[in-house]
C-alpha cells in the first residue's frame, strides 16, 4: 500500500495529477445539471405567478 502511494518518489506527481483530473471532471459533470435546474426553477416560479 505504501509502495502504491509513494510510487518510488513519483507518488506526489502522479496522485496530484489524478486528483486534479477527477476534481475537474466531477465539476464539469455537475455544472450544467445545476445550471439547468436553476433556470427550470425560475421558469416554474414565473409560470406559477400567472
Amino acid at each position: 500500500m505504501t509502495e502504491l502511494l509513494a510510487m518510488g518518489g513519483h507518488g506526489v506527481y502522479v496522485w496530484s495529477a489524478y486528483a486534479v483530473s477527477f476534481a475537474a471532471l466531477v465539476g464539469l459533470g455537475i455544472w450544467p445539471l445545476v445550471s439547468l435546474r436553476a433556470t427550470m426553477r425560475r421558469l416554474r416560479q414565473r409560470g406559477g405567478d400567472r
Binding site: H10, A17, T39, M40
Partner: protein
C-alpha cells in the same frame, strides 16, 4: 441517406433536441465514468513502471486524453462556427456557447497535468516551446470565445463574431498536432497515430485507450447537458418549455 438530412434539420430544432437528449446525457455520463474509473485503476495499479520515466508515466493516461479531447472540442466548435455562419443555425451558436467553457477547463487540465508530469521527467514544469505555447494559445482561444460574447452587447452580432473567431482559430489545431514534429522540443512524440504502429508498449496502450474513450464519452455527455441548459436559458419565453417546466 435521407435520414442524415432529416437528423440535420431536426437537430436545428431546440425543442426536438431537448425532448430527446436526456437519456444520452445519463448514458454518456455513466458509460464514460465507468471507463475512466476502469482505465485509471488499470493505469495506476496494474501497469509496470516505464524504463526511463518510472512511475510518472502513469500521468500519460489522463494527460493525453485531456489534451486530445481539448483539440477535438475546438474542432467541433469550429465546425459549429462554419454551420452558423453559412446556415444561421441557432443550435450551432448555442453549441459554441455551451462547449467553449468546457473546452477551456479541459485545456487547463491538459496544461496542469503536463506541468505536473514535466517536473519529474523534464526537470521543469514549463518550457516555452511549440507544443506548450500552442496549447496555451488554445486555452486563450477558448477564453476568447467566452469573453468576446460577453463583450458585445447585441446577441446577434456577438454570435456572428464568436463564430468567426471559432472558425479562424482552427489554424492553431494543426500547429498543436505537428508541433512535436516540426520543431525541436522536450515534448515526446505522439504515442498513437492513425495508420502507424503504436510507439508505446501494449501494456501502456490499453489503459490509455480505455481512458481516451472514457474522456470522450463523459465530456460528450457534459456538452449535451450544457447545450440543454443553454436551450432552457435562451428559449425561456417559449410556450413548449413553460409547459414542460410546469409538468415536470
Amino acid at each position: 441517406m435521407g435520414w442524415i438530412k432529416t437528423t440535420f434539420h431536426k437537430s436545428g430544432s431546440p425543442r426536438w433536441f431537448f425532448a430527446g437528449s436526456r437519456p444520452w446525457v445519463i448514458g454518456l455520463y455513466v458509460f464514460g465514468a465507468l471507463l475512466i474509473v476502469a482505465g485509471s485503476t488499470w493505469g495506476l495499479g496494474f501497469v509496470p513502471p516505464e524504463r526511463l520515466q518510472g512511475n510518472s508515466v502513469r500521468i500519460l493516461f489522463i494527460h493525453a486524453p485531456a489534451a486530445h479531447l481539448a483539440e477535438a472540442i475546438y474542432v467541433a466548435i469550429a465546425i459549429a462556427g462554419f454551420v452558423f455562419l453559412v446556415w444561421r443555425m441557432k443550435m450551432a451558436d448555442m453549441l459554441i456557447q455551451a462547449a467553449a467553457p468546457i473546452g477551456l477547463v479541459v485545456t487547463i487540465l491538459a496544461l496542469a497535468t503536463g506541468i505536473i508530469w514535466g517536473i519529474p521527467t523534464w526537470g521543469t514544469g514549463w518550457v516555452w516551446d511549440a507544443r506548450t505555447v500552442s496549447t496555451l494559445l488554445l486555452a486563450f482561444l477558448f477564453f476568447g470565445l467566452v469573453a468576446l460574447r460577453q463583450a458585445i452587447g447585441r446577441p446577434d452580432r456577438a454570435s456572428r463574431a464568436v463564430a468567426l473567431l471559432a472558425l479562424v482559430g482552427v489554424v492553431n489545431i494543426p500547429i498543436i498536432k505537428y508541433s512535436v514534429e516540426w520543431f525541436t522540443t522536450l515534448h515526446q512524440p505522439p504515442s498513437i497515430e492513425i495508420g502507424k504502429k503504436p510507439a508505446i508498449a501494449a501494456v501502456f496502450l490499453w489503459p490509455l485507450a480505455v481512458n481516451v474513450v472514457g474522456f470522450y464519452c463523459f465530456v460528450a455527455g457534459v456538452v449535451i447537458a450544457a447545450l440543454r441548459a443553454r436551450i432552457v436559458d435562451r428559449e425561456a419565453g417559449a410556450q413548449w418549455l413553460r409547459d414542460w417546466a410546469l409538468k415536470s
